[in-house]
Subunit: 333 residues, 2 copies
């Protein structure tokens, strides 16, 4: 049986007090530019700098609650999920092993090790996944990055908090990689607002899957500055939720960099390109609205390497203030 | 008669509710690295993205309170003071003219104009100051960037709030350009904690002045990535306070970039290089402390151009975690 709204509510109680209740922010300047209201759920201020702390912690706590033995945990990731699992494991006093592809940046490796995890390097992504599976077969508890009901319910708690804290959105926008955050957000909203995903044009597997009615899978990791959504495909589990959302916006690379710069400038928060996807989508959606509307954007995280920063800040994009776009369509739709 | 602690308290009441009561933040990771506690007053989240909003608003309100006619205001600045005066003037419904040197970045020009100010370009810094004086002579109210008791008392309210909000520091660290923030902070602390200034080695006029007992003045603007402290010298007014502080740390350019990267990474806030100066100084001071101590760092602002960002993120500096420095001396002292 697939996860429900109640699973998100239970997850919120479970992780309460151990994750940060991140603030809701806004920018009067941005609202004036757009003629609409945008509220931001600041998960870049979450533990480990991303919403991933929620899903990882909920997965560990829920497994323990069900009486599953959790002697050690293992995860494969080169991104925020790695740090999230390492952090959650240390919090609960459990040993963690994170398998990373060898080309992972030194900063991410160090950050993950700093949370007390053992970092194991595998030749590439596929090998990392296989190595994690091997360790899981030998008894370690595998925490998948998105294909897990506890993980996706945990991710949904960010949206749930925002709604509890007074955001009253007409529509909610989140980035979509494997679909964990989008699934959890969809469950959290429970039909009180439209829920949209956003992904790079260059990594539009979810948009294609949504359009075609079956999962599209990339052969190799798509190339985009939004390194949080380079997953090859949704899973059957997340697709079951994603296909019921209002749609997936496809965002050009240039718009991702533009909004990363502008959100950094307006909010003074560290915003990773993946987090800017939701704002780019909200911008398109709001531009097509006939009357002032409110968008809730889940700012997924704030972890950027120097290389990613350099790609985003290749040139000054703050000379062109945001204005409504002419067509509010869903990219490739 | 020079400004006192009571002037800072009065300024705080005066501007209450119109500036943001910015949060106090910390990083458990940083504290673990250093073996000390660092509290951050997040003025990068202040209106206009810098503490300058405090001084500008206090200056306008105090003048009105004293019955001085404020028909229009003028300021010369290429930095945060420009936006602060423009913002404060609009808030009070007063016309503002900001005179900027012609080489100011387009982003700063646009941002200042976006607050409703008329932007006048002058050939250079000296000409800008002269043009502002001309307009003041014709009746406009001049709001100086630091050489003004109302301005420096306003800047001190950031520290005052931090102390009221529960920071219990052994020492307080702020960047020093013209000395307005340092003077106000010194008055706010009223001897309850040591107060240190921090400036780039490359722009060490305050350190030299402190050492020599008289004001040292640069012939031309010093070159440093910390563009908020490129002033030529202190004024007699600010020097009178600055010379009574605990000292001025002189920070190499490389340390400024290092701490800008690390604070951005740890706090997920947009931190301008000038704001990193205080942390670099706190790092030196804490390294020399025999027992665990608490430092309060006033993060002055979060406005960076793409060019400044590129200089800070020229290479990844997050591979070397902070550790205590061997010598906690005051740079050139």
């Amino acid at each position: 049986m697939s996860a429900t709204h109640e699973d998100v509510v239970r997850a919120a109680h479970r992780i309460d007090g151990r994750v940060r209740r991140t603030p809701l922010a806004g920018s009067a300047t941005l609202d004036a530019f757009l003629g609409h209201r945008v509220r931001f759920k600041c998960e870049c201020l979450q533990k480990v700098g991303a919403f991933k702390a929620r899903g990882a912690l909920n997965a560990l706590l829920a497994r323990a609650e069900r009486g599953e033995p959790v002697g050690s945990v293992v995860a494969f990731s080169s991104g925020n999920h790695a740090q999230a699992v390492a952090w959650a494991a240390r919090l609960l006093g459990v040993r963690a092993t994170i398998v990373m592809p060898a080309n992972v940046s030194e900063v991410k490796r160090i950050a993950t090790a700093a949370y007390g995890a053992e970092v194991v390097l595998a030749p590439d992504r596929v090998a990392a996944e296989a190595e994690a599976a091997r360790r899981a077969a030998r008894g370690a508890t595998l925490i998948p990055p998105f294909d897990d009901d506890d993980v996706l319910a945990g991710q949904g708690t960010a949206c749930l908090e925002a709604l509890q804290d007074g955001a009253v959105p007409d529509a909610i926008f989140v980035p979509c990689g494997g679909g964990g955050l989008l699934s959890g957000t969809y469950l959290a909203a429970r039909g009180t607002a439209l829920v949209y995903g956003a992904e790079p044009v260059a990594a539009n597997d979810a948009a294609r899957s949504y359009r075609d009615g079956h999962i599209f899978r990339f052969e190799s990791a798509p190339v985009t500055v939004a390194d949080g959504v380079q997953t090859l495909s949704l899973s059957e589990r997340t697709f079951a939720h994603v296909r019921r959302t209002a749609g997936i916006y496809e965002i050009p690379e240039d718009d991702i960099a533009y909004w990363t710069q502008w959100l950094t400038h307006l909010l003074k928060l560290t915003v990773e390109p993946t987090a800017a996807l939701g704002m780019a989508a909200a911008h398109r959606w709001l531009s097509a609205r006939p009357a002032p509307s409110t968008a809730l954007v889940i700012l997924s995280g704030g972890n950027l390497s120097a290389a990613t920063r350099a790609r985003v800040w290749d040139r000054e994009r703050l000379g062109e203030p945001p204005r409504p776009v002419e067509s509010g369509h869903l990219g490739g739709r």
